[in-house]
Every structure is written in structure tokens, then in C-alpha cells.
Amino acid sequence: MISLFVNGERHKVDADPDTPLLWVLRDQLGLFGTKYGCGKGLCGACTVLVDDEPMRACSLPAGEVQGRRVVTIQGLDSAAGKALLAAWTELDVTQCGYCQPGQIITATALLRGNPHPSDADIDTAMDGNLCRCGTYGRIRAAIHLAARRLGGTP
């Protein structure tokens, strides 16, 4: 039995501690916003926040996040998260949309540590999140827009 704290709620899950967090989130908790893309931490589609740090849920054993705060796209309610969601919609960043929850989670962590990221900061933070539709230019613009809206206090 694993005890998880996800999106502000406690869950007891009957899973082996080595089960990747991704499959616990999706198959046990029904949190489908967190996506499978590669299973090896190579694409970022499964990114979640663990104690505010972006982590790849597909390669993170669920047992390792016991007692830690997990936030998925569906529980993203920080000021930065909301500003990013609004910017994403305003700029129509999305195409197929499958990678975007992971992109937004990574961007949330970026703005938390760096309220006014430069293009180079964005490159560094976002380089592990792949998008096959090629929405990178709009992702960059949306992060800048959200940062401006937040006025430096994400």
C-alpha cells in the first residue's frame, strides 16, 4: 500500500512501490491529463511537479513520492500555472495537444524559480519536453506572456 498526496488529496493505492508514478496516476487515480510518451524520461509528456520540482512520472517509482506533494496538470492551481494556462489558450499554442500538459508543468516550475526567463533560460528549462507538432515558438511566446502578466511574482 502506497500513500500518495496528489493535487491536494490523500490517496491509498495498492501498488508495488516500483510501479512508475505515471501508471498509478492514470490507471488508479484516473488522472489522464498526465500522458505516456516514451516511458524512459526522454520526452516529458508525463511531467508532474513533486514538491514543486518537475519530474518524469514515467520513470519515477511511486514509492519514492510517498510523503511528497505531487501536482499534475489537473491540479495545477498556482498563480504561475493559471497564468500559463491562460497564455497557452490565448496564443493557441496547442496543435495535437498531447505533450502540452507536460510542457505547462515544466514551464510552471521554470517561472517559480525564474519569474522573468530569457530565451536561453526557456531553452534550458524546456529542452526535455518534446513536441512533434512543433509548437515551440508559441510555447516560448506563451511563457513570456505569462511572465509579463504575473509581473514577476509567480
Partner: protein, 719 residues
Amino acid sequence: MIRRGPEQPRDPSRRRFLVLAGAAGAAGFTLASVEARAGATAGELVANAFVTIAADGTVTVTVKHLEMGQGVATGLPVLVAEELEVDPARIKVAFAPADAKRYNNLFWGPSQGTGGSNATANSWEQLRKAGAAAREMLIEAAARILKVDRTTLTAGNGAVVHGPSGRRLDYGRLVAEAAKLSPPADPPLKSPAEFRLIGHPGIKRVDSAEKAQGTAIYAMDVVLPGMVTAVVARPPVFGAVVKGFNRKAALAVPGVEAVVQISSGVAVTGDDTWTALKGREALKVEWSLPENRPSTETIRRDFTARLGQPGLPARNDGDSETALDQGAKRLSAIYEVPYLAHAPMEPLDCVVRLSKGRCDVWAGCQFQTHDQAMAAKVAGLSPEQVEIHTLYAGGSFGRRANPKSDYIVEAVEVAKAVGVPVRLMWTREDDITGGYYRPMALHGFEAALDANGAPLAWRHRICCQSILEGGPFAAMIKDGIDSVSVEGAANLPYAIPNLKVELHSPKLPVPVLWWRSVGSSHTAFATECFLDELAQAGGKDPLELRRALLAGQPRHLAVLELAAAKAGWGTPLPAGRGRGLAVHESFHSFVAQVIEVAVSPTGEIKVEKVVLAVDCGIAVTPDVVRAQMEGAVAFGLSAALFGEITLKDGAVEQSNFHDYRCLRMSEMPVVEVHIIPSTAAPTGVGEPGVPPVAPALVNAIFAATGKRLRRLPLGTVPT
């Protein structure tokens, strides 16, 4: 692995089913709405197969095409809204059930499907007429209710207004009366000058919010009562077959439900995804390997040898063989592109439920009625007994348009064997190693220039596996020529008096498929690079030479001139930088690109900027067109710089994103998109941005370094 505890029932379906129903409702693409449309509800107007108006005025537009990111769920309803005179933001969108009569692709005959970048083009008149017919019915209904002459009525903003009195009847109040009327066969349509939505900025995507929030439903997110998850152990080499397998170890994994042989391999089902994956890992399968196990190296040798021989003629103007010997200068070159996987972010997946006399399929279907027929065949049903529930696809790029309906057939086979609903999932490794690639191709050129440096003769031999052979579009093979192997080459637009294009179509056990821009994904690379070689050999500027050879091709010329002007073609650049250009027509649209590249002293390639001009007829939703061009640049750069599937002794050497590299944020250039204003009917948008990327980049690298690269992917420039 996940085990069921006492508080977790054997079948957690109820909770899960609610998850699906709730989320789908929020998404707006309600499955219920699709099913309900079969018969009209009292008080609603089912004007035609595409437009339904409820008594509360809600307009639902049925979209017959797959939304895989290219924006059809946004753009197609705009065509209806323009004529129906409603705010597109207030339209509900529903994906059509599979139906080859009502929802066929008008360019493909009786078959529903999305491809060839023609979703907007084939719907252009159909959906405007659908909207106009509904509008006419509503106006006629208002005339009857108000007892006025219909010429005194106009439709606007979701209502019919009586001019003389100013009385206004919302559409919702008219539907009951309108439902009694017959739809007009040929309602009047607006002229382009009258459009207030089509071609205008400000239309927002309908799916942005739900996709950003993670509530949009993909096949991966569908959960049904009693459903198991299946993964399949497939052959390690194309053409290998199961010799035997031992279920024991797999079944010993707690939660694994079944191990069954299907036509493509051995399927393992489990309570959940991780269990199924662990089960497959434990499974032992013995494979019988085929004799023919090609390697990239052997294929390259074979293709190169074939280029030395004449192929089947795809085009023959003048007398190229004679002219080749009569020029002042002769050039030859071989260009090469590798196999490529589509690698959409959502790997292949679907959910299948079999019940008495019925089969339900939830998938991001690109070929709905073909998939329906294939599922029916396996299930032992008639196609009408198979219900296709089309969901969002997390990318496709052609992969979900499969003549064998491979992943759908697998899921139906498993569901038949295990007797419960099945979610079938491909892992990324399954996706990268599973075949259906853009074919590897070699292009052999011979050309002659006259004394003034003008091209006199051009002979182009292509060696490329046929995609169409054996599939539903095989009729497009004429006189042995697979049209998609030579598209973009046989219709070369340049005025060269002696021009010959030939094709070799070798057979190989590697499954191939259309990949975003299909034949043009390699023919544009080869032809536009070799033309640059001719310019250089003839002492001409690449833009000047193209201008001269495109004098009779105004649409090519217009995009070329626009891209060149916006990019500052000819203005000086610092050392180590260069500009290259390419222009190409595909899917009846015209795209030119000027790429600016920086090459470091160690040969690293940095794409700085891409200036793109597109003529796609009327750009129905201009921002979606821009987004598709931006995305096409990224897709094209992934392939040009990194993308490569190679074979060794029949086995694919790549497996996941670490060795099948895709473009990253830091590698994305600035992309500037310029759309040519047009009143011509819309043409392709999803694919035409891809073909010019690789040649413009390679031509830019030549301009920067003087090095001519002829094989993709580029990796780095040799120093």
C-alpha cells in the same frame, strides 16, 4: 505491479466510466451527441448530415475528419458558421460516426478519411452549402411564423431579422417550424468578398483550453467497464513469425489476465498498463526468422546499382539522353533519404468493445470507414455493426491512416480472444521499431548546362519502395508508376527542354507508409538541392535561376519572390552564415522558404531563421495556417537534422527518442509566415510546409560553407 486491495473492487469500471463520461462532456465532443444524431430529438432541426440546431439555439456541427492537431475541428465549423450566420465560438463540435455515404472524403469516393491535406479542400463547398441550407430553412420558417415575405428577412448573429419591423427571432425559436421544411438543394453561397469569418483573423482554436488543461480525451484515456490493457510482443525482424511461446512466466505476473497469439504476434493483457508491460517483459517468444533480412548498407548498395539502370518512365520531355551529351557542362549527383518513423507523441492505441452483433472502436481514426471494414472482418460482423468513435489523435502524420488498420485489427483480435473490452497500446519502442515508415529513397541525377549556364537536360532516377502497392489506393499506380513515389519530381515545374524522370520500385520486407508530405518529403529535397547545384555550376544565383525557369509558373514565382524579399535575399551575412531557398508545390499549395543557418567551425548546424511564404488559396483560418507552417518547419527540421531509421540484419537499430532524435526547443528557429492573399478555393495546409525545409537548409549550408551535403539526416557538417 498494481494489485487489487479489498477497497478496490475487481472491476473498478464504474469509477472509471464516470471519469470518461464526465471528461468527454466537459470536452464538448460528447459521445452521446454523436449517438443521438442518428435520429432527431423533438424540437431540433437536423438540417443535414453536418448541421443540427437545438431548440435553445445551440448549433452542433459534425466534423467528418480526424482532428490530429491540424485544426480541422476549428476550421471546418467556420465554413458552416460563415453561411449560417452564427458566432463560431458558440458552435458545438461533434466527430462524425463512420459513414462512407454521408461522411465520405469527397476527393476519395465512398470512403471516409483524413489525408492528402484535403480536409478543408474537399469540405469547402459541402460545409458552406450545409450552413447555407440551414440558414434558408430558418429564414423560410421565420417567413411562415411572421407571415411576411421572405425577401424582407435576413439572417445574422444566430437570428432572423425582419427588416421593416425590426422583429428578431432567434434560431432556437425557428427550429420546430424549420424542421417541417425540406432542405433546399442548391442554396445561394456568399462570394469571397462577402466573407466575414473565412480568411479573417481572430478565430480561436476550439480545443486549446481542454488540451492545455489535460481534459481532452484521446484513445489512451478511454476506460470501459471490465476493460483490460493489452500490449503485443511483435517480431524482432520484419517478416518473422511466431514459432512458439511460453505463457507461464507472463501469467505468473500478478494481474496478468491472458496471453494470446494474434496475427501480428503474442498479446499480453493485464488489469492495467504496468501489469501488461511487466507481463510482456516476462513472456518468452521464439521467432522464426525470414531469409531476407536487409541492412541499410545492403539496401543502399542495391538502390545505387539500380540507379545505374533505366527505370519505368514517369515523364519524358524532349530527348534527355541525347541532350545530356550535347551540353557545355555535365553534372551528376546521388541524393539519399532514410526510412523515417512518424513518432506522434501519442503512440498507437485504441479501445475495442465487442458485444452481441456489435463492435465499438474508440480511436484517433484517420481512415474511419476502412478501419470499420477491417474491424468488421476480424469480428465477423458487417461494417454497419461496427461503430467508430473518433477521438482526438495525439498527432499522426499519416501513421493512423493504415491500409492494414494494424493496431485496430490487433485490438479486435485480442478482444475476441479474451472476451472483455480491450485497450491496446503501443509503447514508444513498439512505435519506433514497428514499421510503416517513410520509405528510404535514392535519387540519381544527370544534367547538362548549355554554354550560358542554363539547364539543357535533366534526368532524374528515383529508387523507392511503393507505398500504394497492395493498399486501398493501389488504383493510383498507373503503368507501374506509384504516383506518390514521383510526386514533386515528375511534375517538376522548371522549364527545362529535355526532362526525364524514371522510377525503380524495389520490393523489401520493410512496411512503408505515407509520412507528412509523402513523396514530396524526399523529392523536394533531391530536386531543389540539385537545382542549386546547377545554379552554382552555371554561375547563377539560385533565386535568379529559379526565376528564369519558373516564368510560366505564377504561383511558384509569387511565393518565391515573397519569401526572398521578406528574408532579404542577397543582403550580406557574417562569415559562417548562409541563406538557402527552396520552393515546392504539394497538395495543390505552394510554399517557398528561405532558411538562414549558422555553421560553427566544428560543423555544428544552427538554424537561425525560416522565412516562409505560402499560397494555399483562401486561408480559411489564417492563424491555423500559420501554426501548420511553423509546425511543418519543426517536423521537417527533425527529419533533416536527426531523423533516421536504420536496419541491421533485418532489425531496426533505433528504439526511442534518445536514438530517434526530434527537434527540441533550443533548436527551434524563428519562423516567419507570410500568406499570399487569395480568392481561390482552399488547398492543402497540413503537409505542404514540410517539403522545402530540408533543401532550403542544405542549400543554406552550402552557402555558408561551400560544402554540398547529399544525404539526410545531416547531423553535423564534415570539417
